[in-house]
C-alpha cells in the first residue's frame, strides 16, 4: 500500500503557480502553500474543489531545518482520497498563520491545540486560548526544544533505566531540585497564581448581561464538571443558563492531558502500539489498527490475508460493543438509571472474552502488529465468535432495541433535540455516527476503503433527522451492519500466516509522512506519523474523533435545556482518554 500518491490528481501548483509548490521531500506528498496565500487557496479548495471536510490540522516542528509547519488534511464527504497542504514558516516567535476557521469551522479546537502545543498563533481565530494545558502554562510542550521535568533523553529506550540490567526509577537519579527548569524571572517562593479561568469567563461575559423583552433576568454560569457524573470523565463545560435554557457553552478540557503525542515521539514505533490502547480505552482494537495502518503505509508492507480478516472481525466486534455500551450510557444519561447499561455490559463481556482469548487482555488489547496481528486466533475463540455472531448477538441487539426505542418518555427526550444540520456537521468536521445521523453517508470504510472493507457487503447507515433520535438509531442500525460484515468475514476467513515475516523488536521505518485513518466507532480516527528514518517517529499526531466532535457541542446545545446538554454530550460519545490525550 503506497502513500496517497493520488492526491497529485489535483494539481494545485498549476492553479496557483506563484503560491504553491509540490512537497518534494522524500516520502512526502501534498503541497507547500505560501502563508500569505493560505486563505485564498483554502477558499478555493473548499469552494471550487469541494473538499468540504477538514479532517485534521496539526503542527510539526522541524527543529533541524528551523522551520515550523502546519499540515491541513482535507477530504470530500463524497469519498475519495484527501488533499494535503502545508504551510511552512520560519521557526522564530511570533509565529503566525491566518486562521481557516471561517472556511472550515472544524478548525476551531484544532487551531487552539496547535497554539497550545506549538505556540503558533492564528490571527482571525475568535477565541484562541490554550486548550489542553492551562492558561498559566509556561512554554509550548510539543516543540522539540521543550523539555519536561525529569527530562532524560530525546528518545526511548532511556539508557539510564537499565544501567547494569537493573531498573532504576527516574526520580532516584533526578532529584527534584536538579532537573526542573523554571521560566526566566520566576521565583517559586513569591509566585502567586493568576486566575487561569479569567480568559474563559471573559469569553462568556457577553452573554451574562443580555436583555430580553425589557426584563432583566439574571443568567447564571454553571460549571458542569470536571467532577460531574454525566460528563463521562473529567470533562468540563461552562454553561450560561437562562433559567434552564442554555444560552452559551464553552467546553473546557485537558484535565486528563498527558501529552500523548510527545510521549509517542519519545517512544519507538512498536512502543506506541500498546500506547494507542489508552486513547479510547473502549476501542483499543480500532486504535491499534489506525496506528498500524499509518506505519504500514510508511514501511510499505502488505498485511497478510488472514490478519486482514482478523482485523476486520476485531474491529467490528469493537464497534458492536462500543455502540452497545453507548446506547446503555446514553439511556443512563436520559435517566433510565443503569438497567440498560447493565444489559449492554452483559453482551460486552462476551465480546471482551473473545478479545481476551486472542490478545490476553480485555480492554488494553495491544493486538495488532505492523503487517498483521500479534498471534493467531485460537480455535476456541473462533467457535465462541461464531456462536456469538450467528446465534446470540442478532437476537440480543434486537431485544435491546425493543427495550426502550418506543418509550414515550424517551421519544420526548430525543426527538428534535440537539439539531445539527448536515451542512453544519460537515463544516464542524463531525465524523462517524454523528455525521451519518445528520444524513451524510460518509463512512471511511466506503469513502476510502482500508484493509479489506471493499470486499464486504454492508450499508452505510444514515438518518435524515439530525437529532438525538437519529444518533440513537444510527448506532443501533450500525450494530446490525457490523453483524453483517462479521457474518461474511467469519464464513470466508482463510487459513494462512498472520505476519509477513518474523516479528522484530525494532522496525525499520523509512523517512516520510503517512496519514492512516479508519472508521472508528466514534468517528474518523487518524494517525499522522512522520519518520526521519530513526527508530522513533519524528511526529506522531492523533486525529481523535472525541476531540474534534466536541467542536459542534455549543452549536447543538444553545437553545436547549440543561437536561438536554447531558444527552447531547452523551450522544457525541466522548472518551476522555482520547479527548484529552
Amino acid at each position: 500500500m503506497a502513500t496517497t500518491v493520488s492526491t497529485k490528481s489535483v494539481d494545485l501548483s498549476t492553479i496557483f503557480p506563484d503560491a504553491v509548490i509540490a512537497d518534494e521531500r522524500k516520502g512526502y506528498t501534498g503541497w507547500l502553500v505560501e502563508k500569505d496565500n493560505l486563505i485564498e487557496i483554502a477558499t478555493y479548495v473548499r469552494e471550487e474543489l469541494d473538499y468540504d471536510l477538514l479532517s485534521s490540522v496539526t503542527g510539526v516542528d522541524y527543529l533541524p531545518e528551523e522551520k515550523m509547519e502546519v499540515v491541513y488534511q482535507v477530504y470530500k464527504t463524497t469519498g475519495g482520497p484527501g488533499l494535503f497542504f502545508k504551510v511552512q514558516i520560519p521557526r522564530e516567535d511570533p509565529m503566525e498563520i491566518p486562521s481557516v476557521i471561517n472556511i472550515w469551522p472544524g478548525a476551531d479546537l484544532q487551531e487552539r491545540e496547535i497554539w497550545d502545543l506549538y505556540g503558533i498563533k492564528f490571527p482571525g481565530h475568535p477565541d484562541l486560548r490554550r486548550i489542553l494545558t492551562w492558561e498559566g502554562f509556561e512554554g509550548h510542550p510539543m516543540r522539540k526544544d521543550w523539555q519536561e521535568p525529569f527530562y532524560e533523553e530525546e528518545t526511548k529506550p532511556f539508557k539510564s533505566r537499565w544501567p547494569k540490567g537493573e531498573h532504576i526509577h527516574a526520580e532516584e537519579i533526578n532529584p527534584y531540585h536538579d532537573n526542573l527548569k523554571f521560566p526566566p524571572k520566576f521565583n517559586p517562593e513569591n509566585w502567586t497564581p493568576t486566575d487561569p479561568e479569567e480568559a474563559l469567563y471573559t469569553s462568556l461575559k457577553k452573554f451574562t448581561t443580555k436583555n430580553e423583552d425589557g426584563l432583566e433576568a439574571e443568567q447564571i454560569i454553571v460549571n458542569m464538571g470536571p467532577q460531574h457524573p454525566s460528563t463521562h470523565g473529567v470533562f468540563r463545560a461552562v454553561v450560561v443558563l437562562d433559567g434552564e435554557k442554555v444560552v452559551s457553552l464553552k467546553p473546557v478540557m485537558g484535565y486528563l492531558h498527558r501529552n500523548h503525542e510527545k510521549i509517542g515521539e519519545r517512544n519507538t514505533y512498536l512502543h506506541n502500539m500498546p500506547y494507542t490502547d489508552r486513547l479510547d480505552y473502549f476501542n483499543s482494537m480500532a486504535n491499534n489498527w489506525a496506528y498500524a495502518l499509518a506505519v504500514e503505509k510508511l514501511m510499505g508492507i502488505e498485511v497478510t490475508e488472514r490478519s486482514e480478516y482478523i482485523r476486520v472481525i476485531m474491529s467490528e466486534l469493537t464497534r458492536i460493543q462500543n455502540h452497545l455500551v453507548w446506547v446503555g450510557i446514553f439511556l443512563n444519561d436520559l435517566g433510565a438509571v443503569v438497567t440498560p447499561l447493565l444489559y449492554a455490559f452483559e453482551e460486552r463481556e462476551l465480546i471482551l472474552d473473545i478479545f481476551e482469548e486472542v490478545s490476553g487482555a480485555r480492554m488494553m488489547c495491544n493486538y495488532y502488529r505492523f503487517g498483521g496481528v500479534v498471534r493467531d486466533m485460537p480455535v476456541r475463540a473462533f467457535e465462541k465468535l461464531k456462536q456469538l455472531v450467528y446465534d446470540r448477538l442478532p437476537g440480543k441487539i434486537e431485544e435491546f432495541e425493543r427495550l426502550l426505542s418506543e418509550n414515550e418518555i424517551l421519544l420526548s427526550r430525543v426527538k428534535g433535540i440537539g439539531y445539527l444540520s448536515a451542512k453544519d456537521a460537515i463544516a464542524t468536521s463531525m465524523t462517524g455516527p454523528m455525521l451519518r445521523a445528520s444524513g451524510v453517508p460518509y463512512d471511511i470504510r466506503r469513502a476510502e476503503p482500508y484493509g479489506i472493507y471493499d470486499r464486504f457487503d454492508f450499508d452505510v447507515v444514515t438518518r435524515p433527522e439530525c437529532d438525538l433520535y437519529a444518533r440513537y438509531h444510527v448506532r443501533i442500525e450500525e450494530m446490525h451492519q457490523s453483524l453483517r460484515i462479521l457474518e461474511q468475514a467469519v464464513s470466508t476467513i482463510p487459513e494462512g500466516p498472520i505476519l509477513p515475516k518474523k516479528p522484530v523488536y525494532q522496525v525499520r521505518v523509512p523517512a516520510g509522512e503517512a496519514y492512516g485513518r479508519i472508521e472508528s466507532p466514534k468517528g474518523e480516527l487518524g494517525f499522522y506519523v512522520i519518520s526521519n528514518g530513526k527508530p522513533n517517529p519524528w511526529r506522531y499526531h492523533v486525529r481523535a474523533p472525541s476531540f474534534i466532535n466536541i467542536t459542534a457541542l455549543e452549536k447543538m446545545c444553545v437553545g436547549e435545556k440543561i437536561a438536554d446538554f447531558v444527552a447531547i454530550l452523551g450522544a457525541i460519545d466522548i472518551v476522555l482518554g482520547e479527548l484529552d490525550r
Binding site: 447564571i220 454553571v222 460549571n223 460531574h228 457524573p229 454525566s230 434552564e244 439511556l331 443512563n332 444519561d333 436520559l334 435517566g335 433510565a336 438509571v337 443503569v338 438497567t339 447493565l342 444489559y343 452483559e346 426502550l404 418509550n407 414515550e408 418518555i409 424517551l410 421519544l411 420526548s412 427526550r413 426527538k415 428534535g416 433527522e465 433520535y469 435545556k561 440543561i562 437536561a563 438536554d564 446538554f565 447531558v566
Partner: protein, 368 residues
C-alpha cells in the same frame, strides 16, 4: 383526658415511628435487591443472610462519616433543612388508619394516632409543607446545583399539589367524608375505589410520585444533570436524614394510596381479627412500592419542562374532568345504583383521550 389515653397515644406513636424507621431501613434493602434483579445482578448479599444486615452496616457507615458544612453555607438553615424534611414525612403518617378499632380490656383502641375529621386535608397540608426542607437545603448550601435542585423541587411540588388535591377530592366524593377511616369503611365488600375510579387512582399515583420526587420525576436530584441536586453538599447523618425522609415518604404515600383507593386495611377476616389490618396494609404497601421501584428500574427521566407541561396541561385538566365525572356519577347513582359504573367508563374515556393528546403532541413536536 385520662392517663391511659396518653399512654395509648405514646405507645402508638412510638410503634409508628419505629415501624417507619425499620421500614425505611428495609425499604433500601428491598429496593436494592429488586433493582439488582431487574438489572441481572445480585445486589447486597454479603451482610447477613440475603444481605439482611446491610441496612445496619449502612447506618453505621453513615453515622461515622464526617459531616461537612460548606464555608459559605447559611449555617442555621443548612442545619435545620434536613430536620424540616424529615419531620413532615413522619407526622403525615399520624392520620392513616392501620386497622379497624379493637377491644383491649374495656377500652376501644383505634389503630391510628389521630382519627380527625379532616384527615385528607391534613395530608394535603403536610404534603405542602414538606417542600420547605428541600428548598431551604438547596438555598442554604450556596451551591448552584443544589440551588437549581431546590428551585426545581419547589416548582414541581407546587404544580403537582393541585393534581394531588383533586385526586384526594375524588376519594372524598366517593367516600363522602374527609375522615380516612370513613373512606376506608366506604370501600367495604370489595368496592375498592380503584375499581370505581381507576383514572383517579392513577392520577393520584402519578402525583404522589412527583410529590416524593421518585423516578421518573426525580428532577430535584437528577443525578445526570445536577449531581445530587439539593443535597449535593450534605454528608454523613445530615444526608442520611434526607435519604430517610425520601424513603419514609415513599412508604407513607403508598399507605395513602392504599387507604384512599385500594381498600386500606380491608381484607378477608379483618373484622374478626382487627390486627390483620396492619398486615393487609403492609402487603398493599409492599406491592405499591414494588411498582415504584419497577418504574425506577425501567423508565428514563422526563425532562423538567415536559414534566411541568405534563403536570399543568395534561394531568390537571384530566384530574378536573375526573372530579366532574365522579361528582355527576354519584348524583346519578342516587337514581339508580348501577349508574355508579358510568364513572369508570367515562373516566377511562377521558384518560384515553388524554394519552391520545400526549401522543399527538409528541408527534407534532418532533420535527416541527
Amino acid at each position: 383526658m385520662d392517663w391511659t389515653l396518653w399512654l395509648e397515644l405514646v405507645i402508638k406513636a412510638l410503634v409508628l415511628i419505629f415501624a417507619l424507621l425499620g421500614g425505611f431501613a428495609y425499604l433500601t434493602w428491598y429496593e436494592r435487591r429488586l433493582l439488582a434483579r431487574f438489572q441481572s445482578r445480585l445486589g447486597p448479599n454479603r451482610a447477613g443472610p440475603f444481605g439482611l444486615l446491610q441496612p445496619i452496616a449502612d447506618a453505621v457507615k453513615l453515622i461515622f462519616k464526617e459531616e461537612l458544612t460548606p464555608a459559605k453555607a447559611y449555617k442555621l438553615v443548612f442545619f435545620l433543612a434536613p430536620i424540616m424534611t424529615l419531620v413532615p414525612s413522619v407526622i403525615i403518617a399520624a392520620v392513616i388508619p392501620w386497622g379497624p378499632p379493637f377491644q383491649l380490656g374495656d377500652r376501644i383502641v383505634t389503630q391510628s394516632i389521630a382519627d380527625i375529621n379532616v384527615g385528607v386535608l391534613f395530608l394535603m397540608s403536610i404534603a405542602s409543607i414538606a417542600v420547605y426542607g428541600i428548598v431551604l437545603a438547596g438555598w442554604s448550601s450556596n451551591n448552584k446545583y443544589a440551588m437549581l435542585g431546590g428551585l426545581r423541587s419547589a416548582a414541581q411540588m407546587i404544580s403537582y399539589e393541585l393534581t394531588l388535591g383533586l385526586a384526594f377530592v375524588v376519594a372524598i366524593l366517593l367516600g363522602n367524608s374527609m375522615n380516612l377511616t370513613d373512606i376506608v369503611e366506604a370501600q367495604r365488600d370489595g368496592r375498592w375505589f380503584v375499581l370505581v375510579q381507576p383514572v383517579g387512582a392513577l392520577i393520584l399515583w402519578i402525583a404522589t410520585l412527583a410529590e416524593v420526587n421518585r423516578h421518573p420525576f426525580d428532577m430535584p436530584e437528577a443525578e445526570q444533570e445536577l449531581t445530587a441536586g439539593y443535597h449535593t453538599e450534605y454528608s454523613g447523618m445530615k444526608f442520611a436524614l434526607f435519604f430517610m425522609a425520601e424513603y419514609q415518604k415513599m412508604i407513607v404515600v403508598s399507605a395513602i394510596l392504599a387507604t384512599l383507593f385500594f381498600g386500606g386495611y380491608l381484607g378477608p377476616w379483618v373484622d374478626r381479627w382487627p390486627l390483620l389490618g396492619p398486615v393487609y396494609m403492609f402487603l398493599k404497601i409492599v406491592i405499591l412500592l414494588f411498582i415504584m421501584i419497577w418504574v425506577r428500574a425501567t423508565w428514563p427521566r422526563i425532562r423538567y419542562d415536559r414534566l411541568m407541561a405534563f403536570g399543568w396541561k395534561v394531568l390537571l385538566p384530566l384530574a378536573l374532568a375526573v372530579v366532574m365525572i365522579t361528582a355527576v356519577g354519584i348524583l346519578l347513582a342516587e337514581i339508580n345504583p348501577w349508574m355508579i359504573w358510568l364513572i369508570p367508563i367515562f373516566s377511562l374515556i377521558a384518560g384515553a383521550f388524554a394519552s391520545l393528546m400526549i401522543d399527538r403532541s409528541l408527534r407534532r413536536k418532533a420535527y416541527a
